[in-house]
Amino acid sequence: MTLLQVKGLGKSYNSETQVLKNVDFEVNAGEFVSIIGPSGAGKSTLLRCINRMVEINEGKVIFDNADVGSLKKKELRKLRTNIGMVFQHYNLVPRLTVIENVLHGRFGYKTTMQGIMGRFTEEEKEHAFMLLKKLGIEDHAYKRCDQLSGGQQQRVGICRALIQEPKLVLCDEPIASLDPNSSKVIMDHLKSITTDMGITCLVNLHQVEVAQDYSDRIIGLRKGEIVFDGPSKLLHEDQINHIYGTELRELITV
């Protein structure tokens, strides 16, 4: 079943440079897709077009049969509740507790007043704890987020995305700021989201080897165009070189 369709997507922030050009792909429900490409290729922009954090210039994004580009404000909020997002720098509110940050994922379901007052139902809170437990950070639930290590913070970020009960999770370089151990933990969790919970994952990655290890399918982006799209095992040395230009990567490429 096709969950997401991107058709002829084009995007430019200013008149000079076209960041995305005629991007076409489809993602099926339950897939784990990695997007790789050099810095500035447009990976982040592509993800942001999908939940319309940036406006779409050309082409269409169809998510769950809705044309994302044409949604009204209310409908857009509704759409976003169905798409979780995980960021490189976690983007948690540092002064609030872990559990508060996780519950922020429920705002899409709240009226303004409920949201301002911070009214959350018991079920929501229990759900939050359940997720924290699943990601192994239930002990820190009442700590302020700025007291956690990067890996722990990223797990909070994942919880916040999951409590939205999304159909799709977008991850923008979720492990770029993490040390090797934490990176593994996070990637394992993301993988299990797809396998255990059946949620589709679209992940931007810098580390080619990690992408190959974890994902079903890899999309290679270069200068705003898709230059590779296929199963991970078909991504070979020369394709990688094509994606990243001709530079050979030295030392520590992982």
């Binding site: 954090m53 509704k78 976003r80 960021f87 720098h89 509110v93 429920r106 700025d146």
Partner: protein
């Protein structure tokens, strides 16, 4: 430049006399340098521009020294009682509190509208412009206007102080809001949160300590302003006594006493505000 040096390399910049330059001469250094030079020149010019009429250094300096000694070493109360003094200080603090609290509440809403990352450009720009003008008008004028039009009393003092207080805080708050990590706002918006959700759960928690610091700083300023404005607006307070003691009775001992009172209050307020900040809103907790 390339003064016949054999080993000269293209990436080395030299001064006219052939020495190697180590300053970059970039715009920032240049601006800093010229700002400092211009300020120095203006300062020197200022002393030629001053009017020195009636100034007798030989008399003024020893007299000031003597006066300061009398004030600070022999403070005394002559025209009113300790109880009265407490009451008057209370009034001044009260004026400061009112102007600060009311100002902060109003400023909070205006600042949300003035912050570029939370508002529309034209709203933000117009609020900024209005606020800049209000800030440029001296507080004393506001106070006098209200004293004249609204009558002597605390309303005039507080309202007069409120204008500047609010405008100042709007600027400070909106700058704090603008510094909130764009990622946090983005993350909350991505969950489907609306503007109010983002403000109450993202912006305010992230900036609360800054806001509080600014409010306390403004309170210190307002206390100082209240000393002056309480008297001018007929709201009384320790400033009136200070004015009478120095401008009317010429009683240095009493001026000394009042100065001590103000100083002590200011220091106590500072301590309280630091304590409150540390206690309720530490920058980071360690547990």
């Amino acid at each position: 430049m390339e003064a016949g040096r054999t080993n000269d390399l293209p990436y080395i910049k030299r001064t006219k006399d052939g020495r190697i330059n180590i300053k970059s001469g970039n715009k920032i250094d240049l601006v800093v340098k010229w700002t400092l030079i211009i300020l120095s020149i203006l300062t020197v010019m200022a002393f030629f521009f001053f009017n020195y009429i009636g100034l007798q250094w030989d008399r003024a300096i020893p007299e000031t020294a003597h006066n300061l000694r009398v004030m600070f070493l022999e403070p005394a109360l002559n025209h009113f009682s300790w109880g009265e003094a407490f009451y008057q200080v209370g009034i001044t603090v009260g004026l400061g509190v009112l102007a600060t609290v009311i100002g902060a509440v109003i400023a909070l809403f205006l600042a949300l509208m003035a912050a570029e990352n939370l508002s529309r450009p034209w709203i933000s720009k117009s609020i900024r412009a209005v606020v800049a003008v209000i800030r440029a008008v001296p507080t004393v004028l506001w106070v006098l206007i209200f004293a004249i039009a609204a009558g002597l009393g605390s309303e005039a003092a507080v309202l007069g102080m409120l204008f500047h207080s609010t405008a100042y805080l709007v600027k400070a708050f909106s700058e704090a809001f603008e510094e909130v990590d764009a990622g946090i706002l983005e993350a909350l918006r991505a969950t489907g949160a609306n503007w109010w959700h983002v403000v109450t759960h993202g912006v305010l928690p992230s900036t609360f300590t800054y806001i509080l610091s600014w409010v306390f700083l403004r309170f210190e300023i307002n206390f100082g302003v209240a000393v002056a404005m309480g008297a001018a607006a007929g709201a009384g307070g320790i400033g009136f006594e200070l004015f009478m003691a120095s401008g009317f009775y010429f009683d240095l001992r009493e001026v000394g006493f009042i100065t001590y009172a103000i100083l002590i209050i200011a220091v106590v307020l500072e301590i309280i505000s630091t304590q409150l900040k540390n206690r309720y809103f530490p920058a980071s907790t360690n547990n």
